[in-house]
Amino acid sequence: MNRQLAHLSDEALVLLAARSEESALAELYDRYGRAAYGLALRVLRDPELAEDAVQEAFLTLWRTAARFVPERSKASTWILTLVHRRAVDAVRREQRRRTDSLERAAEPSVEGVDEDAWLRLQRERVQEALRKLPDAQREALELAYYGGLSQSELAERLGQPLGTIKSRMFGGLSRLRELLGEPRTEVSWTSTS
C-alpha cells in the first residue's frame, strides 16, 4: 500500500483532497476506513448498508473538502461524524430501530476479529471510560449513538421526560470527555503549497 503521505496531518490531507488529490483521499481512508466501517456496521448491522454508508461519507468528504475549517474541528471527527450521520439516516430510513436497536446498542463480541493493535488500544481506552459513567448516562449515549435513536424516541423507550434524557446525554458526553482527558487540541496545520 502506498503510504507516501503518511507523514502529513489529517488536516493537511483534507486540504490536499480539496485539491482533488486522490492519494490524500486514499490515505485518509487507510487511516479511518476501518474505524468508519466498524461504526457503520455497529449502527446498521448489515455489511452491505455499512459499506454504502462509508462510501457515501468518504465521497461527501471528497466533494466538500474545500469547506472544511481545520481551526474548527479535527478531520477525524469530521470523517466519523459524516459516517455516523449516514448510518443513522439509513437506520431511520429502514426503521430497523423498532425491532433491534437495543440489541444493536449492545457491545458486540470481539471473537474472530483480527484487531489492529492501535484500534484495540483506542477501543479499550474508550470502553474503560464508558464503564465509569453512571449507568443511566451510558445507556443514553449508547442507545443514541449506536442505536440511532432520537432523543424523543429515547424518552419514550425509557419512559423518562425529554429533559431527563437531554441532561443524561449532556452529562454523559461531558463526563466522558473528562475521562478521556481530551483538552481542546490545537490542530497542527501544514501548508502544502
Binding site: 466533494r63 455516523h84 483506542q122 443514541a144 487540541t185
Partner: protein, 205 residues
C-alpha cells in the same frame, strides 16, 4: 425549546430532522454553541472507537477511489503558467463574442505560481459546485470572478471570491454539456463580462 440544550443531542445525531434544522440555524448565531459542539463532537466521535472494527472488504476502498476519480474527470487541474495555451484553446472553442471578451488579456506575472485546482461537481437541476484552491489572495482592488459560459453564449457572472483559501462557489443554471466554467481576475466589485484571460477553466461534460 431552548436550543442551547440541544448541543449534546446534535453531536450524537439524536435530533429529529426539524430539531436538527432549528439547531443548525441557531449555530450560525451562537459562538458559544459552536465551541461546545466542537468539543462534544470530538467526544462523540471517540465512541466510534469503542466498537470492534472488522477489516472492511477491499472492494470498499477500491469503490470509493474509483468513484472519486470518476467525479474528478469533470475537473481540469491546471498550473497557472500553463493556462495561456489552454485558455486560448477554450476561447477559440467558444463563440466569437466570448472569444473577444476573453481575449482582452491583461499582463500577467511569469514567476512560479502554486498549483491552482478547480473541482467541479454537478448536482440536480443545473446546480453545480465549483471548488477552487491554490489561488493567492486577490491583489488589492481586485477580486476573482467565476463565470459560466454556455456554448455559443456570453459568459454569465457566477460569483466573486477573494482567494487565499479553498473556496466553494455555488453555480446555478449550468448546462449539461459543452459549457465552460472559468475564473478571472476582475476589478473589485466584479465585472458584467470577463475583462481578463481566465486563470483557470473547466469544460463540463
Amino acid at each position: 425549546m431552548d436550543l442551547h440544550e440541544l448541543t449534546a443531542a446534535y453531536a450524537l445525531d439524536a435530533l429529529d430532522a426539524d430539531e436538527a434544522d432549528a439547531y443548525q440555524e441557531h449555530l450560525g448565531q451562537c459562538e458559544e454553541c459552536r465551541e461546545e459542539l466542537a468539543e462534544l463532537s470530538d467526544t462523540a466521535a471517540s465512541l466510534a472507537f469503542a466498537t470492534v472494527a472488522p477489516v472492511p472488504p477491499a472492494r470498499l476502498r477500491a469503490a470509493i477511489l474509483d468513484r472519486a476519480v470518476a467525479e474528478r474527470s469533470n475537473v481540469v487541474p491546471l498550473r497557472r503558467r500553463r493556462w495561456v495555451t489552454r485558455g486560448f484553446a477554450v476561447a477559440t472553442a467558444a463563440a466569437a463574442a466570448v472569444a473577444v471578451a476573453l481575449a482582452l488579456t491583461v499582463g500577467r506575472s511569469n514567476h512560479q505560481q502554486p498549483v491552482v485546482s478547480m473541482g467541479f461537481t454537478r448536482g440536480a437541476n443545473g446546480n453545480a459546485t465549483l471548488m477552487v484552491s491554490g489561488l493567492d489572495t486577490a491583489p488589492k482592488g481586485k477580486t476573482y470572478e467565476a463565470w459560466v459560459i454556455p456554448k455559443g453564449k456570453a459568459p454569465r457572472p457566477a460569483g466573486l471570491f477573494e482567494g487565499g483559501k479553498p473556496t466553494t462557489i455555488h453555480l446555478h443554471g449550468v448546462p449539461q454539456k459543452d459549457a465552460v466554467v472559468a475564473v478571472t481576475v476582475e476589478p473589485a466589485g466584479g465585472s458584467p463580462a470577463p475583462t481578463t484571460t481566465p486563470i483557470a477553466s473547466s469544460a463540463t461534460r
